[in-house]
């Protein structure tokens, strides 16, 4: 099948490659852009490890094709920290032991960034609900929930 050119902005940088239409955005980010922070767990939309921001909203990068992101602005986990400083969310994950093996962490961190932007003062129930789209097999989630609470406080939205 015909390969197609695709141009998009990833973490503020313009990327242009020729890709097979069936290549997912996740594979494109990892293989063509060499941004391997976006992880692939289940590759069918269940685990959330591949979550990225697409034009300002969190999406599964394994559930869309790279060609569909033509002209889009994508932010991966690599694009969150500015000037080498961790974001409050990243800092909170470290402080609260929100990760162990780290495989799921990029997906959680991107999802939590999107969630707190939408809801800066979440209740614990809302946090649990928001995290339901990401699977972690190490932490038992408690550290992650605490990390979201801490990040919300740090970012000034605390109740």
């Amino acid at each position: 099948m015909a390969e197609l050119p695709v141009t998009m902005s990833v973490n503020g940088e313009r990327h242009r490659h020729i890709v097979e239409p069936r290549k997912t955005l996740a594979d494109y980010l990892r293989e063509d852009c060499a941004l391997t922070g976006t992880h692939l767990g289940c590759e069918h939309g269940v685990c959330g490890a591949c979550t990225v921001m697409l034009d300002g909203v969190a999406v599964r990068s394994c559930l869309m094709f790279a060609v569909q992101a033509e002209g889009a602005e994508v932010t991966t986990v690599e694009g969150l920290a500015k000037n080498g400083e961790l974001t409050p969310v990243q800092e909170a994950f470290r402080e609260e032991h929100g990760l162990q093996c780290g495989f799921c962490t990029p997906g959680f961190v991107v999802s939590v960034h999107a969630f707190l932007e939408d809801n800066p003062r979440p209740s614990r129930d809302e946090i649990v609900e928001a995290l339901s789209g990401n699977l972690c097999r190490c932490t038992g989630y408690q550290g992650i929930i605490r990390a979201v609470e801490r990040a919300a406080t740090t970012m000034g939205g605390a109740t």
Partner: protein, 304 residues
């Protein structure tokens, strides 16, 4: 001396979780999309939000020679309210439906949509995609059936409108033909003061529901039910209406015991599917309870 045979190479089959190759079409108008569908027939598939289709492609449960991406057809998205109807364009994102003030006139949409997958899924997933995919455990298909929505189906030769009761044929199967596209859904607005509820049992938040109910009731001045609609999801190959339970409910101001009976009646004639997560008996038993619980909520919300 016999040489020990070399260890055979690891015989791991190479099974990449990737879709089979396809040709990609990104039309800018509905007419162009329909033209591609007309040309390629069952070799072509519309790609909406991709939250169900892409996994099915990736797992190679299905394959198509042509994918027709609808994400660049602006005219297919949008929510409008006029004359007792809320019309939702097929490519409206579920997240947009969730937040739409216009869609609030149909409370079942706002109650059911947050139960679809997770927020990351709803950011991408579409209303029409969910309905046309027709998963028997899907929330929006059940809302469509329960509210007797009307569905616009277009092809290169014109548009037809079908009723919800005719739309769903079986698991993942609807009356939408290979060269057709579900373009919009019309949801009727019920009277002020009507009460609605959506209730489902899933193993985790955002999982497919094992059993679910969507329902609506209208009451008269003496709290008697004048109108009732009860839809079930996960209880058969398509969403189902509990017609006998609806009839039993109308004209009554049901007591708690009567609601228990109506819950039983709603699942009495069903033969729900059994799978690794729930047996037929479990689905029936839980289904009866969930119907009761949802009706009680809807009646309370209606001021009953």
């Amino acid at each position: 001396m016999r040489k020990r045979s070399a260890k055979p190479p690891l015989a791991l089959p190479c099974r990449p979780v990737k879709p089979a190759p396809f040709e990609y079409h990104a039309p800018a108008t509905t007419a162009d999309a329909l033209a591609v569908l007309a040309e390629h027939g069952d070799e072509a598939k519309p790609l909406a939000g991709g939250q169900s289709l892409v996994p099915m492609l990736a797992l190679r449960l299905t394959r198509f020679g042509h994918l027709v991406d609808l994400n660049r057809v602006p005219e297919l998205a949008g929510i409008e309210r006029h004359n007792g109807t809320v019309t939702v364009g097929t490519m409206t994102r579920q997240a947009d439906l969730e937040r739409s003030p216009d869609a609030a006139a149909v409370p079942l949409l706002g109650l059911a949509t947050p139960l679809i997958g997770h927020f990351q899924i709803r950011n991408r997933g579409t209303v029409g995609g969910s309905i046309a995919h027709a998963d028997p455990a899907g929330e929006l298909p059940a809302v469509v059936l329960t509210l007797d929505a009307q569905l616009d189906i277009a092809s290169a030769s014109g548009t037809r409108t079908v009723s919800a009761s005719e739309f769903f044929e079986g698991t993942w199967t609807t009356v939408v033909g290979d060269d057709e596209l579900l373009t919009a859904v019309h949801f009727p607005v019920w009277a002020d003061g009507a009460g609605f509820a959506v209730d489902e049992v899933a193993r985790r938040l955002g999982d497919f529901a094992l059993v679910g109910v969507v329902c609506g009731v209208e009451l008269d001045g003496s709290s008697k039910v004048t109108r009732a609609a009860i839809g079930l999801l996960g209880m058969g190959g398509t969403p189902l209406r509990a017609a006998a339970a609806e009839q039993a409910l109308v004209g009554t101001a049901p007591t708690d015991d009567e609601l228990t009976e109506i819950g039983r009646l709603a699942v009495a004639d069903l033969d729900p599917p059994a799978d690794i997560h729930a047996s037929t008996e479990y689905r029936s038993s839980v289904g009866a309870h969930v119907v009761k619980r949802a009706l009680r909520t809807a009646l309370e919300r209606a001021g009953g």
